[in-house]
């Protein structure tokens, strides 16, 4: 990143960042990160398609992010009662919360006790690039989800974030800290209206020894929302992190999803599902980073693309020198439902040790297979019905493998179904 920051008139200035922090009454940790984010704005440029491989197909400098206003500071009226383990934020302000659950902290950054946020910024660094710097400089709506050692949270935690302020920059931050041997499932749902919106979400997953965290993000953005997200998990010894990203809406949804397997014997499963319509553009960059010995990772990302929609997948499996006996698999599959839809897929391996158990990858992109259609039609289903069945099966596989409870899977299937129906992809 060598080029100078944009010189266009920007609303996202160091002064604006400081004013936001004052208005929100930052605590120590958030204040510190906000300040370093703001000062990094002077030095960090936007990532560039020419220099940064994950940005090959999207040029953030061309999107005039800095023309967006900083997040507002208004508080929200308290919403009606929510179930236990649920938290609702509107435009970054808490708007409802269910009863508390033993062993679980679920609260926005404004209410956490001093010291509880000392690990903020550990997984997603402030100075990654100009986008992460902007995220921290204008952070609003941080949520801490933390489990005590050995806590088993039976029901999924539901974190819902709705945005409706036109022309603003949204900066949701979710910090998940799982204690030793704890069990936690989090479903974070993002929604926005039809107004233009820029979103820089960050999700940090700090998974303690022996802990199991299942994190799902539902991207149900409005038609004029552009999203640049960073999600990174760091696993300690024998920890297990699973994530699923489901994208059913948004003009541009670009997600960087990383699992850093730093603890021996830890593992990561990453799943992704996208259904594209209209001009939607979904762009996934994934990194399976094997640092420690005996680590395992699996990845399956699938997109079904209708109309003029587009999917980009660039995924890296890295096996470091110390990651002996690593076992890694990476698969990206794209189904083109129209001639104008387009998919780019580029899975890459980078292996530094010669002592691996297995490292494999695969990628495909193409229309529905004619032989499969013939087979299904030969059993009496119309061509349209056969396409519908194939597409649903195709997208259902990551969901089946996600290890989410059946009720949650049905809910997610319903979101996929609604999008496919709107797209007219069989039934």
């Amino acid at each position: 990143m060598t080029s100078a920051p944009s010189t266009a008139v920007s609303l996202l200035t160091t002064e604006a960042s400081r004013a936001l922090g004052e208005a929100l009454g930052d605590g120590e940790a958030v204040g510190r990160l906000r300040a370093s984010g703001a000062s990094a704005l002077d030095t960090l440029a936007m990532p560039s398609p020419a220099l940064d491989r994950p940005w090959k197909y999207v040029d953030p400098a061309a999107l005039d992010l800095e023309g967006f206003s900083p997040p507002g500071t208004a508080s929200e009226a308290w919403d009606e009662a929510l179930p236990a383990g649920a938290l609702l934020l509107r435009d970054g302000a808490t708007a409802g919360r269910g009863p508390s659950i033993d062993g679980l902290t679920l609260t926005d950054f404004g209410e956490v006790p001093e010291g509880a946020l000392e690990r903020l910024g550990e997984a997603v660094a402030v100075d990654g690039d100009r986008l992460t710097a902007l995220h921290y400089a204008f952070l609003r709506g941080g949520v801490l989800i933390q489990t005590k050692a050995n806590a088993e949270i039976a029901e999924p935690v539901r974190l819902t974030r709705e945005y409706s302020e036109a022309g603003t920059l949204a900066t949701p931050h979710t910090l998940i800290v799982a204690g030793v041997n704890s069990r936690l499932t989090v479903i974070e749902e993002y929604r926005s209206g039809d107004e233009p919106l820029a979103v820089l979400p960050a999700v940090e997953l700090l998974v303690g020894p022996g802990a199991v965290v299942n994190y799902t993000s539902l991207h149900r953005w409005g038609a004029r929302t552009r999203v640049f997200g960073e999600q990174r998990a760091i696993t300690e010894r024998d920890a297990d992190v699973r994530s699923l990203s489901l994208v059913t809406g948004g003009r541009l949804v670009k997600s960087h999803i990383t699992s850093s397997l730093e603890g021996r014997g830890s593992s990561s499963e990453m799943y992704g599902i996208a259904v594209g319509a209209g001009q939607e553009h979904v762009d996934f960059y994934t990194l399976q980073d094997h640092v420690a010995e005996d680590t395992r990772s699996d990845l399956l990302f699938k997109s079904a693309l209708g109309e003029q929609s587009r999917a980009v997948y660039y995924g890296l499996t890295k096996v470091g020198l110390g990651a002996r006996r690593a076992d890694a698999n990476q698969e990206n599959r794209n189904l083109l439902l129209s001639r104008a839809a387009k998919a780019d897929s580029d899975p890459v391996l980078e292996i530094l040790t010669n002592d691996v158990t297995r490292v494999s990858h695969g990628a495909t992109a193409g229309p529905v297979d004619e032989e499969e259609l013939f087979y299904i039609q030969s059993r009496g289903l119309t061509r349209e019905g056969a396409v519908g069945l194939l597409v649903r099966g195709f997208l259902g596989e990551p969901l089946d493998r996600s290890a989410l409870a059946e009720g949650v899977r049905e809910e997610l299937s319903g979101l996929v179904e609604a999008k496919l129906t709107a797209l007219g992809a069989g039934s």
Partner: protein, 252 residues
């Protein structure tokens, strides 16, 4: 033999990828009849199976096929299926993400033209699975995904059992089966066969015909039937091979 034919194939010619494979094939099958078509590799066995079911990769260039008195030309595969035609595939394709039970339910509803109540459907499914000696957890697996050769053939027979066609074409159903599996599959087919149904076995080897007994055996060479006879013809083939018949059939 006075009943109206189920299937009438009249001077059928068909191309695949621009090559003529079927060169004038004639065959009539009536209710209650079991026919076997035997032929060496490349004689057109799979082309016949695919053409009957309406695979769009195969182009009919001459002749006609009538099923229950109706010309099949230009009819989509699903319509053929709904009219009661069934093909057990030699190489069934895997459909990851779609479970056997989900697939069967949709197929049964499509072919019967009504939503069969779930309870009723399950009862019927389990009964047919027992008949074909397949495990119950088979139903929850993705269709043909990671199936062994034998499992794929059993899945085909399970579909046959659930769809209850008037006319079933079995394309090389014996290939990839060990002797126990072959016997199970054959017992299942025999139990499903009835006097209003027709059965066409397409096979390279005589082995299957020890378990499913045809009344009529036909020899397919170079895209047409060169000899027809009773079960004894299959035995003759087993002893002397296709070469003798091929030599006798080819124009000198």
């Amino acid at each position: 033999m006075t009943e109206a034919p189920l299937l009438e194939i009249d001077a059928l010619r068909a191309n695949v990828a621009g090559n003529e494979i079927l060169t004038g094939l004639n065959l009539t099958i009536r209710p209650g009849e079991v026919h076997a078509i035997m032929g060496p590799n490349g004689s057109g066995k799979s082309t016949l199976a695919n053409t009957l079911m309406g695979n769009p990769r195969y182009e009919v260039t001459g002749g006609e096929v009538r099923f229950l008195g109706q010309a099949l030309d230009g009819m989509a595969p699903d319509e053929r299926a709904r009219r009661g035609l069934f093909l057990a595939f030699q190489y069934p394709v895997a459909v990851p993400g779609v479970t056997v039970v989900n697939f069967l339910r949709q197929a049964v509803n499509a072919v019967r033209g009504e939503d069969v109540p779930v309870r009723e459907f399950r009862q019927e499914l389990f009964q047919k699975m027992e008949l074909l000696k397949v495990d119950r957890d088979f139903a929850r697996r993705y269709l043909n995904d990671g199936f062994s050769g034998g499992e794929k053939k059993r899945a085909e027979m399970l579909q046959l059992a659930m769809l209850q066609p008037r006319m079933a074409v079995l394309d090389e159903t014996d290939s990839g089966l060990d002797i126990d599996a072959l016997r199970t599959v054959a017992d299942g087919v025999n139990a499903l066969m009835h006097e209003n149904m027709g059965l066409l076995l397409i096979t390279h080897y005589q082995r299957l015909l020890n378990y499913i007994k045809p009344q009529f055996v036909h020899v397919l060479i170079d895209g047409r039937i060169v000899r027809s006879g009773g079960p004894e013809l299959a035995e003759e083939l087993e002893e002397s091979g296709y070469d003798t018949i091929e030599a006798a059939a080819s124009p000198a």
